[in-house]
């Protein structure tokens, strides 16, 4: 077949799919591992000629995110696109989609820099991070992932390689197509590389934390932090099923400047706060098993939403762990492994019944998929999204069914 000729050189360029390559139970006929952007373009062009359905895979840590693809002929392994071009003086990095996230952070840290957002998975690739598009706790100062992507090279469904944005932070030439691909689950194109805005590693970091004695205390604390001028990088709630949870405030700055901010934050949190000079282990990393959801609410309602999700899920014996950024109104809900579809559905319906609240199932267990629970709920602008999909992927071959509304 043409695929064989287009996948590049080397024995691993094209092989038959195995059970280990399955996505949502679908075993791809072939797995291609192109060795660069151009080879990826040729693979995609060949797939287009043969009308193959394609799913992209990095290290495979999020293949169970989104909907189950309706078809899968070709799995495109992006790990051959692993390279880092760090332009340290410009605080910019351009990185291949298959680069491990941990490797990127390591290279940047060695130069005293970072991507100032906390990844939610360990072991993933940059392409997977971008395609899933979610951000961890530290996003209040420099933004979430979507705010840090300044350029992107994407291979379209027809194999055409297209770039948008660039390598400078300030740039308004052309449409910001990277926004569509960030969080697009590979349904509009396969991400080949990304240019990212970086920040210097702050010389000083403090974590001020305290167990919240009650929901009311947490709400008062959040309001007091909002009124203050301590400028936190993260205000993260960690609410185990038994509630009411632990609040951690991350302050980053200079060794001389951070002291007064720590003192003020400690005062706002209440008596006996803990102060640490390092982040706790597993910071921001979400559980790798079980159904996982993102609840978005107006920021002032985030404590109430977290408590309510905890209570709702407890009432159906599926007590969920809720974490998330309170000022961003972004809460991650982790259901215990094996939670039934009915219990998940009850919480989902409860949250979606509140005006301005939304709940997206980022990853659903097979039983939840099987029961037909709607992962997305009502998505405003869905007809426009379909129009975009039809324009970029008229044959609907890119991870069909993985996105909202069956896109």
């Amino acid at each position: 077949m043409t695929l064989a000729g287009e996948s590049g050189t080397g024995g691993r360029a094209l092989r038959e799919g195995t059970r280990a390559d399955a996505v949502g139970g679908l075993v791809p006929a072939h797995v291609a591992r192109p060795d660069g952007t151009e080879a990826l373009g040729r693979v995609m062009a060949a797939a287009a000629r043969e009308r193959l359905s394609v799913v992209a895979r990095g290290n495979g840590t999020a293949l169970d995110w989104g909907g189950v693809p309706r078809r899968l002929d070709l799995l495109v392994d992006t790990t051959g696109l692993s390279w880092i071009e760090h332009i340290a003086g410009d605080l910019v990095v351009e990185v291949g989609a298959g680069t491990p996230v941990a490797e990127l952070y390591g290279v940047l840290a060695a130069a005293g820099q970072r991507l100032s957002m906390d990844p939610v998975r360990t072991g993933g690739t940059v392409g997977g991070m971008v395609a899933t598009g979610v951000s961890g706790p530290r996003r209040l100062l420099s933004g979430a992932l979507r705010d840090l992507v300044i350029g992107m090279t994407v291979v379209r469904a027809d194999g055409v390689v297209a770039r948008s944005g660039g390598r400078v932070v300030k740039n308004v030439a052309g449409y910001d197509l990277a926004k569509l691909h960030t969080g697009g689950l590979g349904t509009l194109g396969v991400v080949a590389s990304v240019a990212l805005r970086l920040h210097p590693l702050p010389p000083a970091l403090r974590v001020v934390g305290r167990a919240m004695p009650s929901r009311e205390h947490a709400e008062r604390t959040l309001a007091a932090l909002r009124r203050s001028t301590v400028v936190p990088s993260a205000v993260e709630l960690d609410r185990p099923p038994e509630g009411p949870g632990h609040l951690r405030v991350v302050l980053e700055g200079t060794p001389g400047g951070v002291g007064p901010r720590v003192a003020e934050t400690a005062r706002l949190l209440g008596s006996d706060p803990e102060v640490a000079d390092a982040l706790p282990g597993g910071w921001g990393v979400l559980p790798t098993e079980g159904t996982l959801a993102l609840v978005s609410v107006p920021p002032a309602e985030s404590v109430r939403a977290a408590a309510w999700v905890g209570e709702l899920s407890g009432a159906v014996n599926a007590a969920a762990h809720v974490t998330g950024s309170l000022p961003a109104g972004a809460l991650y809900v982790s259901f215990p492994r094996g939670t039934g579809a009915e219990a998940v559905g009850t919480v989902v319906d409860g949250v979606r019944s509140v005006p301005d609240w939304s709940m997206t199932l980022l990853r659903a267990e097979p039983r939840v998929h099987a029961a037909g629970v709607d992962l997305w709920g009502e998505v405003p602008g869905l007809p426009l999204m379909r129009a975009v999909k039809d324009s970029f992927d008229p044959g609907r071959r890119l991870a069909p069914g993985r996105f909202a509304g069956g896109i």
Partner: protein, 496 residues
């Protein structure tokens, strides 16, 4: 000077819509007489002019939707316009089209302090959002220099930044919700007070689309807590190189000022003549650096920045903390564009971006270009993010001077592209740079932009002939500031 179109062109298609437009927007919401239409013939880039076929002034989103629907049904193009302060002719009217002006939609609908956001209509002036939020200790962070008059809807169309976007980002980093009227006339609500909308990030892709994907009719913007302390520094250097070294060392030291602005000797001279800003005598370059945040952090950073400037060769550094004192430092910088009119009869304002590391090299090359051509270039720019605003000066009474100035201006953009930068950091592509897009992006990139555009505007009626190159468009020449914009002249707006 080439006029893109005149009022004498045939307007039959548009004229036929007038009675129905009047039913939608009311008698006073539709302007048809030539004199009144002519007042809308250009935006802030006054060199491109076209008298719109008809001007409508809707007051509600439903009216906007009805107008656009009517356009769509009749295949008539429409051009959205806010306050008309744009500098890329993005709001250049279409002679056979409808100019849809949002200036009557100017209510601040809500300031929601608990959720740190404001809900506004698109015609609200940028600064009015901050004015409404200030009593609660908040402000709206994007601060384009025309913020006293430019509209939030226009900011959405252009993804406007401002001097402080170095730290606080652009419009796209602050908008949480948008109601838009699509090119087919549908009113769609995207996002809202919850910061994370789901599905494709249409809000992110709509922002900066220059009116080619529809019209924003309601905008929910995040508000920023005003900092505990703000300090402005003015540092004077004997050479541009020394100033550039200071910028590099500040950034690489890990300090993130909210703004770093730079002016060269010619720009300083113009500002002194115009507003007597009293910058240090003999300065070949000045830096204006602003630091804000928690008091203790600002104090620590101030000491660091002062030391770095001095190490880079600053011969004088002034520090201001009070609002009035800070305004005095900013006065010279903010007046620089208009002030250039004092030292030159005409000028072209360029907007390009270079990687910060290439700043010194590109500035040197600009000096060489200037020397070789005999065309003076004044440099005023956002040094922190490498966003250059060279002002290319010429005498429009001198035959051939304009063409030579245009060559220099174009060569400066080439330098930006050559060094991996961008053809526009904040003014947008509009008409002005549509034909330069192929210098920055390849045919496949441009075709992909067009795929996206066609997805939302299959009939090509939303602000046609803007943003992407078309054969019809690309015979035209780059823009020249022949005279000061009326808003600048009257002191209502500043440009930088």
């Amino acid at each position: 000077m080439s006029e893109s179109a005149t009022s004498t062109r045939d307007q039959a298609g548009v004229a036929a819509l007038v009675p129905r437009l009047r039913r939608i927007c009311g008698e006073d919401g539709v302007l048809t007489d030539t004199a009144r239409r002519r007042t809308y013939e250009s935006d802030g880039l006054t060199r491109h002019r076209a008298v719109p076929g008809v001007v409508v002034l809707p007051t509600t989103a439903d009216q906007v939707a009805a107008v656009v629907r009517l356009c769509a049904e009749n295949g008539v193009p429409f051009v959205p316009r806010g306050a008309g302060t744009g500098l890329s002719a993005g709001a250049l009217p279409h002679a056979e089209g409808v100019l849809l002006v949002t200036s009557r939609m100017r209510r601040v609908l809500e300031i929601d302090v608990e959720n740190e956001c404001a809900v506004v209509e698109p015609g609200v002036a940028n600064l009015d959002v901050t004015r409404a939020a200030a009593p609660y200790g908040y402000h709206y962070a994007p601060d384009p220099s025309s913020q006293q008059v430019c509209s939030v809807g226009g900011n959405v169309a252009e993804n406007s930044g401002g001097a402080h976007c170095l730290k606080y980002g652009f419009t796209v980093n602050h908008v949480r919700g948008l109601d838009i009227v699509t090119p087919s006339g549908e009113l769609v609500s995207l996002g809202g007070k919850s910061p994370g909308a789901h599905g494709y990030d249409l809000i992110g892709a709509f922002i900066g689309s220059e009116g080619t994907l529809g019209v924003a009719t309601r905008v929910t913007v995040g508000l920023t807590r005003s900092p505990e302390r703000t300090v402005t520094l003015l540092s004077a250097f004997a050479s541009m190189d020394a100033g550039g070294r200071a910028v590099s060392s500040i950034i690489s030291a890990g300090v993130l000022p909210s703004a770093i602005e730079m002016m060269d000797a010619l720009a300083i001279e113009a500002a002194e003549r115009a507003v007597a800003c009293d910058y240090p005598e003999g300065a070949a370059a000045v830096l204006v650096v602003e630091l804000d945040g928690p008091a203790a952090e600002v104090d620590a950073q101030l000491a660091e920045v002062t030391r770095l400037c001095s190490e880079a060769g600053a011969f004088e550094t002034r520090t201001a903390t009070g609002a009035d004192e800070r305004a005095r430092i900013w006065k010279g910088r903010k007046s620089a564009f208009a002030a250039v009119g004092r030292i030159s009869p005409a000028y072209i304002v360029q907007d390009g971006v270079v990687p910060r590391t290439a700043l010194s090299e590109v500035l040197r090359r600009i000096t060489e270009l200037s020397a070789a051509s005999g065309i003076r270039v004044a440099n005023v720019f956002h040094a922190g993010d490498g966003n250059l605003h060279p002002l290319v000066l010429f005498d429009d009474a001198e035959p051939g001077a304009e063409e030579r100035a245009e060559e220099v201006s174009g060569a400066i953009l080439d330098l930006c592209i050559e060094h991996g930068g961008s053809i526009t950091g904040e003014h947008g592509v509009g008409v002005d740079k549509a034909c330069k897009m192929p210098r920055m992006y390849g045919p496949d990139d441009l075709a992909t932009f067009d795929l996206f555009r066609r997805a939302l505007d299959p009939d090509g009626i939303a602000n046609p002939d803007k943003l992407l190159p078309t054969p019809r468009l690309c015979g035209e020449q780059p823009g020249v500031h022949r005279k000061v914009h009326p808003l600048v002249e009257s002191g209502v707006a500043e440009q930088f």
